[in-house]
C-alpha cells in the first residue's frame, strides 16, 4: 500500500466536513500570524512576538482530542492554541494591542494569553514553567475525581529544563491525567537540539520515566489528530500521563528580533515544502475533497474573521492608568 492510498483511507474515514474544518483552522492560524507580523511592523503590537507559522497542524490536530472540560497550558508561542481553543481572534489581537478588552486585559500581551471560560491557563514565557502547573491541574482533577485531561504544550527546548524531568517524574509517579505535547521544531531559540542534548530522541527521555510516549509527524494534521486522540484516550482511561512528540518546524524567526544566523536558508526552504497547510490541501484535492472554490471560501472566511478582529482590536479601549495596581491581589478577599 503506498503512502497516498494510506492517507486517502484516513481522510475518507474522517469525512469531508471534518477535513475542511481542520484545514480552515490551520488557515485561520496562518492568517492571524501573518496579520500579527504586519501589525508588529506597523507598531500596533510591541514587546516579544513569537509566531507559529509552520506548526499549525500541532495545535489544530491536538485540540481535536480535547473536550471543553479539559485544560490547556501553553507557551509564549500560543496564539494558534488560543484561537483554536476558542478564544476569539478579536480578544487575542486586542490583547496584543494592549487593550483592556484583550483576553488578559492587556496585562499579558502576546506571550500571556489567558481565558478562564475555555480553561486556557496561559501563555507561559518561562521555558518549562508550564509543566509543573499542568501536573498540578491534573492532580486537582485526580483528587476531586473529575475525568478531565490537562494538555500541556511546550517546545523541545524545555526538555533541557529541570522542570521537564521533575514533571515527568511526578506525573508518572502519581499517574496523573496529563497529555504532554512536545512541539519539536528543532531549535530552542537559536540552539539546535543536537547541540544542546546528549540524547536527541525525546521519546526515550519521557519513556525513561515510564511515561507512555510516541512521536508523530507534526506537519501532518491527520497524523497529529489521530495520535493525539489515541494519547488522550490513554490518559482518560486512567493510565497516567502521555508524552506526544510532534516533529515540526517554525517557518519564521524565533521572534521579531531574530536575524536567523543559526540555520540554513536551504533547510528552511526544505521544511516549507512540507507546509502543513499546502500538503493537506494537496491531499484533499487529490482525493476530491476540496475544490478551488472551497479553498476560496475558506480563505475568504478566515481573512474576514481576522480583518474583523483587527477592526475590533483597533476599536477597543485603553485601561485607565488609575487601574494600574489592580490584579496584583484578588479583589474578592475570600470565598
Amino acid at each position: 500500500m503506498n503512502a497516498q492510498r494510506a492517507k486517502k483511507q484516513k481522510t475518507s474515514k474522517i469525512g469531508r466536513d471534518h477535513a475542511l474544518h481542520l484545514l480552515k483552522n490551520m488557515i485561520r492560524i496562518r492568517r492571524l500570524e501573518e496579520t500579527c507580523a504586519e501589525l508588529y511592523s506597523a507598531m500596533k503590537i510591541r514587546g516579544f512576538l513569537h509566531l507559529y507559522d509552520g506548526q499549525e497542524a500541532v495545535a489544530v490536530g491536538v485540540m481535536e482530542a480535547l473536550t471543553a472540560e479539559d485544560a490547556v497550558v501553553a507557551t509564549y508561542r500560543e496564539h494558534g492554541h488560543a484561537l483554536i481553543r476558542g478564544i476569539s481572534a478579536g480578544s487575542i489581537l486586542a490583547e496584543m494591542f494592549g487593550k483592556q478588552e484583550g483576553c488578559s486585559r492587556g496585562r499579558g500581551g502576546s506571550m500571556h494569553l489567558f481565558d478562564a471560560k475555555t480553561r486556557f491557563y496561559g501563555g507561559n514565557a518561562i521555558v518549562g514553567g508550564g509543566l509543573p502547573i499542568a501536573v498540578g491541574l491534573a492532580l486537582a482533577d485526580q483528587m476531586q475525581q473529575r475525568p478531565r485531561v490537562t494538555c500541556c504544550f511546550f517546545g523541545e527546548g524545555a526538555v533541557a529544563e529541570g522542570e521537564f524531568h521533575e514533571s515527568m517524574n511526578l506525573a508518572s509517579l502519581w499517574k496523573l491525567p496529563v497529555l504532554f505535547v512536545c512541539e519539536n521544531n528543532l531549535y530552542a531559540m537559536g540552539t539546535a537540539l543536537k547541540l544542546s542534548e546528549s540524547v536527541t530522541d525525546l521519546v526515550r527521555k519521557a519513556a525513561s520515566y515510564d511515561v507512555a510516549a510516541a512521536s508523530v509527524d507534526g506537519m501532518d494534521v491527520l497524523a497529529v489528530e489521530a495520535a493525539a486522540k489515541k494519547a488522550a484516550a490513554a490518559v482518560r482511561s486512567g493510565k497516567g500521563p502521555y508524552f506526544l512528540e510532534c516533529r515540526t518546524y517554525r517557518f519564521r524567526a524565533h521572534s521579531m528580533f531574530d536575524p536567523e544566523l543559526y540555520r540554513d536558508k536551504a533547510e528552511v526552504e526544505d521544511w516549507k515544502k512540507r507546509c502543513p497547510i499546502e500538503t493537506f490541501i494537496k491531499t484533499l484535492k487529490t482525493e476530491g475533497f476540496l475544490t478551488d472554490k472551497d479553498r476560496q471560501v475558506i480563505e475568504g472566511e478566515a481573512a474576514k474573521e481576522i480583518k474583523e478582529a483587527v477592526a475590533f482590536a483597533e476599536a477597543c479601549t485603553w485601561e485607565p492608568v488609575e487601574d494600574l495596581a489592580r490584579f496584583v491581589t484578588s479583589e474578592r478577599r475570600s470565598e
Binding site: G108, L170, V328
Partner: protein
C-alpha cells in the same frame, strides 16, 4: 479570632501549634492537603506533620520527590484546579530551587491573566539561623520574598500566630508564604485551649512602652521582648511591635508606635542591605519623620553567609545583649 479565658491556657511547643493548625485545616476543608519532602512517612523534617499521615492518608499528606520547582508548581496548578494546597519546603534556602514558580507563576498569574486566575496556595518553610547549620540552611529570607508583589508573607513569632495564621492564610485567594523560624519549633509557650484563626492583616504591639519602638518579627521579636524585659528593670520602657505580616506591611501600626515613642530600632535577622528593615526605616522617614527625636537605627545579621562555628554564628545574628546595648545608647544619647 477566638480567645479563651486564661484558665484554659495550656503549654505546648511552636511545632505542636503548627501541627494542630495543619490537622484542623485538613479536618475542616477537604480541599486542603499537605505536600512536600518527607512530610508523610518521615513526619516532616522539623516534625511539624508527625503522625498526620495516619489520620489523613497518603493522598492528603503527600510525600514528594526532591523536586522543589516541580512540587511547588504542582501546588500552584492544584490551587488553580480548585484545591487548597499547603506546600512545605524544608528550608528557605531550598525554596530558591522553586523561586521560578513562586515568583514567575504564583505571584504573576492573577496579573498576567487580567484577574482571571488567582492562586490560593499556602507555602510553608523553615527560615532563620542559630542552629549551626551553616551557609545553606540558615538564612532569613522572609524580607527578601516580601519584595515581590502578588504574594503575602507571614512570619509567625508566637504560638498563637503559629496556630492561627495557617487557616486565615488558606482563606486568602492569593499565594501566601509562611516562614516558620527553625529556632522556634522546640520553644514551649502558652496557648489558649480554644485558640483558632488570627488576623493576618495587622502588625501588633506585643509590649507597650513609652521610650522607644522596637520593630521586629519572627525569632528576633522574642529577642526584642527579652531585651525589653531587661531594660524595664533599668527604667527604660521599650514598646515592641511584631510586624507579623511582612507583605503587605501594616505601616499604620508601627508609624503610630513611633509617633508615641519618638524613637525606632528595627531588629531584623535578614542582612542589612536592601532588607525589610531598610524598607521600614524608609517608611518611618516618609511617614513619621517629624515625630522622631533620634535617627532610626537597625540591628541586622552581619553580611556574611552564615558561618558554622557557634561563636561566629552567634556574632552574626542579632542578639539580646546587642539589642539592650543599642537601645540604651539610643535613649541615652538622644534622651
Amino acid at each position: 479570632m477566638s480567645h479563651s479565658s486564661p484558665e484554659t491556657m495550656r503549654r505546648l511547643t511552636y511545632r505542636d501549634a503548627v501541627r494542630e493548625a495543619l490537622a484542623e485545616a485538613m479536618r475542616t476543608d477537604e480541599r486542603v492537603f499537605l505536600m512536600g519532602e518527607d512530610v508523610g512517612r518521615y513526619g516532616g523534617c522539623f516534625a511539624a506533620s508527625k503522625r498526620l499521615l495516619e489520620e489523613f492518608g497518603p493522598e492528603r499528606i503527600r510525600d514528594t520527590p526532591l523536586s522543589e520547582s516541580g512540587f511547588v508548581g504542582a501546588g500552584i496548578g492544584a490551587a488553580l484546579g480548585g484545591m487548597r494546597p499547603i506546600v512545605e519546603i524544608m528550608t528557605v534556602n531550598f525554596s530558591l530551587l522553586a523561586a521560578d514558580q513562586i515568583m514567575n507563576t504564583a505571584a504573576t498569574y492573577l496579573h498576567m491573566s487580567g484577574g482571571q486566575f488567582n492562586v490560593p496556595i499556602v507555602i510553608r518553610m523553615a527560615t532563620g539561623g542559630g542552629r549551626q547549620l551553616a551557609a545553606q540552611h540558615s538564612h532569613c529570607l522572609d524580607g527578601w520574598y516580601a519584595h515581590i508583589p502578588g504574594i503575602r508573607v507571614l512570619s509567625p513569632a508566637t504560638h498563637e500566630d503559629a496556630r492561627g495564621m495557617l487557616w486565615t492564610a488558606l482563606q486568602d485567594p492569593d499565594p501566601v508564604l509562611i516562614f516558620e523560624h527553625s529556632g522556634l519549633y522546640n520553644l514551649k509557650g502558652e496557648l489558649a485551649a480554644g485558640a483558632g484563626p488570627v488576623d493576618i492583616e495587622r502588625a501588633t504591639v506585643r509590649r507597650p512602652g513609652r521610650d522607644i519602638s522596637v520593630i521586629s518579627y519572627s525569632a528576633s521579636l522574642l529577642k526584642s521582648l527579652e531585651a525589653a524585659e531587661i531594660l524595664s528593670a533599668q527604667g527604660i520602657e521599650a514598646e515592641v511591635v511584631d510586624l507579623r505580616t511582612l507583605r503587605p506591611l501594616d505601616e499604620a501600626t508601627f508609624l503610630s508606635s513611633v509617633s508615641r515613642t519618638h524613637r525606632a530600632l528595627i531588629v531584623d535577622e535578614g542582612w542589612r542591605s536592601g532588607s525589610i528593615s531598610a524598607e521600614i526605616s524608609a517608611r518611618i522617614m516618609e511617614g513619621a519623620f517629624f515625630e522622631l527625636d533620634a535617627p532610626v537605627e537597625r540591628l541586622c545579621s552581619t553580611e556574611v553567609p552564615m558561618p558554622y562555628a557557634k561563636h561566629m554564628e552567634e556574632a552574626a545574628l542579632p542578639q539580646v545583649d546587642k539589642i539592650v546595648k543599642t537601645i540604651k545608647n539610643m535613649v541615652k544619647t538622644h534622651g
